[in-house]
Each structure stands twice: as C-alpha cells, then as structure tokens.
Symmetry: C3
C-alpha cells in the first residue's frame, strides 16, 4: 500500500475495503481523504461577484442587499463607520474567469448566503453561503463559513459540507479581494480546495 | 478485512485499531465512516413544522417570526415580491409522523435556527439550524446548513456536526416540502442520513 | 498496528501510508483522527467575553451590538420578553484566564460571529462564530455553530472546520455560562476539544 500512496499522492482510505460492494444501480463513489495540506483531492478557482443594491437605480443588476443597518458601535468611531452589524443577503454570480457572464451565458455557480460586518475599528466581515452548481460540469452544492479578515491579503474559509457532485466534501476556500468599485461591487477570487471527497 | 466489509456493508475504519483501549468508565463509542453514499450509518425520517407568526392572532401557536423585512430588491420585481432578505428565526416542532403533537406529547425534536429568502426572481431560501433532541430515544443535537432551492422537488442540506448521541456526526438531510397552508405554515419532510457516526 | 494504537491512544490513520511523501518545502502535517470521544487530539480552555452595547455610554468597551429587535412573539409572553428574534453581532475578546486583557496585552483570540435568541418560553440562543487566533501560540481560525441551550448547565457546540494552525479541524466546544453582569456582559467558559487534527 505504500507503493500505491507514493504513486497517487492521495491516500484512497477505503478503496481497497470497498471493492466489489457496489451493484449496477448503486452509487459507486468512494471516499478519498488527502494525506497532506499540499495535496487536495479537488481544486477549482472561482470568482464571486457581489453587486450590492444601492437603494436607487440598480435593482436590475444587483444581487445583494443589506437587511440590517450598521449599529451605533460603528458610526461612533469613524466618520462613515465600519458598517458594524450591517448584514447583507446575496445570490451572487460565480464565474470561472474574472468577467461577468455576457448575454445568456450561464454562470459557473451562484453563491447564496449572507455576510455581515463585525468590527468597530476597521472593515472586517463574516461569511456563510452555499456555492450552488447547476451546470454541465457540476450539479450540487458546497457549504462554506468563516471569518473574512479583510486586513489580510488572503484569508481562509472552511468548506464544511457538500451535496450532489460534492457529496460530503470538506476543504478550504482561500479568498482574495480581486477588484472593488466603490461601495457597490466587489469580486473575490476563491481558490477552492477539497481535502475530503467522494470520487 | 474484505470479508468484514462485505458482510457489514459499513466500513469500521478504526474498530480493529481501537479494540481494547476503552476502560470501564470510558466512552466506548468508536468512529464509523460509510463506504458509499448508498449506505448511511444512520437514517431518520423527520418532519419539521414551521408556524410563522402572522403579526395578529397566532402568538400561542407560532414558532417562527420574521426579524428583518424583505428588501426593495424583492418588491420591485413581483407584485408581492419574493421576500428577498426576509430572515426568520424559528424554534420549530419536529415530529416522526406528519401530525403535530397532541396535548402533552413531546415532539421528536426541536429545530432551532433561521432561514432567509435570497432570490429576486423566485422563492428560494437558505437554512441553518440545530435539531435538538431531548427524548427517551435521543439526547443531543445535529447541526445543519445549506441552500433550500425551492424550485427543486428535493434539495440536500449538509449535516456538518453533532453532539451528545450524535457526537461528531456528519451527513445529508434531503428535504421536501410536504405541506403548506398559505403564508404561515409549511411542513418539510427531512430524510436525515448520517455517513460519519460514533457508535 | 494494534500495538501502535494501544501505545499512542490516538490512531494515526494515514501516517504510515504518508511516510516519505513530503519534500523539504512541503507541508508535512498529517491527519489524526481520535479513536474515542475520551481522547481529543487537542484541548484548549478559553473564555469568551461578550460586552453588549447598551445604546448609551459603553461604545468604547462594547464588542457586541443587537442588529434586530425582539419580535412580538417574545414580548407577548413575558413582561420583558425572552428576546425572541434579537440577533447580536459580535467581535468578542477571548482569553485563557477569566480576566479581560489589561493594557496592551493581546487576547488569546477574538470570537467573531453572531447569536440570536430563539425561544418564546425562556432564554435560549443559537451561535455561530469563528475563533480568530493571531498570537505567538497560534495563527488560524476555528469555525463553530450550534444551539446554546441556556437551560442546561453545559451545552455542546460543533467545531465544523478550521484553517491555518487548525487546518481542517473538527471537534466539540463545551460551553458554560461562567459569569454575567446584568444584561450587558456575560462570560462563557469554552472547553474546546478537537477530534480531527492535522499535526
């Protein structure tokens, strides 16, 4: 078995044990757990586009809207505050490249969830959402949560579960702010790495 | 070991390694990981009843209430909107059959958490909650999260953790809208399948 | 291998398989899964301090603020209600002892996330947050969620993921209300136990 691990660089934990159990109609996927942080069992680079409703004239394009107001804890410290307590619900577009989809082109996924700002002294957020895939490539979801430590160039969210093609997945999404336009648009680059997969 | 797996259809990953470690007072549970999506280590069918506060006359029965209002992103598109941004906190009853408990009968569990609507174009939600068990059968919690893609007949939430009798559990809850009554009641059928258990 | 398990009391699932795979620059951590609920692969006792904004004069010290109001479901039952539906965003201090940090002393971690009250009949809450470590001892995050069943002396939250030094961690945080001061301060003792680690 050491030879197998050395050649694959991924340890097929139960593969040998599971051989021959699956019938013709059964789901034949088997669990794979990465042997090291350097070796995810799956990797995808994705871009999340957050177009925030400005309250005036972008309802057609906006995919996110605040549902609570910043609290006084925020506004009492900075002239415009740090949005402490503002919670934003989103159904954002997710793409494989940096550009938004043109015309009828389908996005790679949607990101459905929310974030909120949670720091008095600077911009800092917390996210939880599902990546919802419904394309030729993938059907299923990945569920994420974690601190978006905006003072850091990159920050890691936990991928805590998955469904469909991502059945029972776990991993890490390393995010980076890739572009911003004023208050009402940001794009995150997400390096999505799974360390537990069923393949 | 291939013979063992073939007869149990569940792979006891660490059972052989863990034999003899637990003393008389120790917790003797051992970890079980399913070998295939077809073979959960535990299955339960449960019904979640959401009785939404109507703001008028159902405080005695209601178990859920909106804590934010739908945003303009919702109301600008449909005559009555799609509730985009409305977040509902709940402490819902969970039962083994479809009926609500009668009299003093205890529910199978409570579901404590929240959901919110997150789509401009149609009804679509996102859930996170704990199933809280405090019955003769079970004591402990299961923690869930994921997209409730209401356009799909069934949709999968991730079970990302558990406590007590469900210590360190992971799995999938497949939900289906089983009944609705106007805006203020729905019942979800939840096929709850665990693929990582301690038994 | 039975001898190994018996001596370590922790099962090194993939250690033997992974030997020799990591180069000089590679991340050499390997996955460890506990063999029993009695034997976490890591343990930490931490204290979470929640200083709630009182809306008047504690903006300098407050680390948490309500962003939604309790609903009528709460106030209709008790004279002062059970805060049903009140959601609080926090960036709380986390310490190793019970005392708040003095002067420039850094906390052990921050806890960033939110809780809300979800019961009509009594005080009961639901939490999700990240423990954010940025100290000499640790850099990284742990992500938690679960029901805070306030009628119970201790209650268990799920640790569903981790990053950095806590890469891919899972576990349980057993919390206990350690102190309260009126409505605007509480301290939780958190016994944080990991059962899945990379070491």
């Amino acid at each position: 078995m050491q030879g197998l691990a050395a050649s694959c660089k991924i340890v097929l934990v139960m593969f040998l044990l599971g051989l021959g159990l699956a019938g013709a109609t059964a789901d034949s996927r088997r669990r794979v757990v990465s042997s090291s942080p350097d070796e995810p069992c799956k990797k995808m680079t994705l871009y999340l586009h957050d177009i925030l409703y400005n309250g005036v004239n972008n309802t057609a394009n906006a995919t996110a809207a605040p549902v609570t107001k910043p609290t006084d804890l925020s506004t009492s410290h900075w002239s415009n505050g740090t949005f402490f307590g503002m919670l934003v619900v989103f159904d954002d577009l997710v793409t494989e490249g940096t550009a938004l989809p043109v015309g009828d082109k389908e996005p790679a996924a949607r990101a459905q969830g929310f974030y909120f700002y949670d720091k008095k002294e600077s911009y800092n957020a917390w996210f939880t959402f599902s990546l919802v895939f419904d394309s030729k490539a993938y059907k299923g979801t990945l569920n994420l949560m974690g601190a978006d430590l905006m003072d850091d160039e990159t920050r890691d969210l936990s991928i805590v579960g998955g469904t469909g093609d991502f059945f029972m997945a776990r991993g890490i999404a390393t995010i980076r702010t890739d572009a911003t336009e004023g208050y009402f648009y940001f794009r995150l680059k997400m390096d999505t790495k799974l360390y537990e997969c069923y393949v």
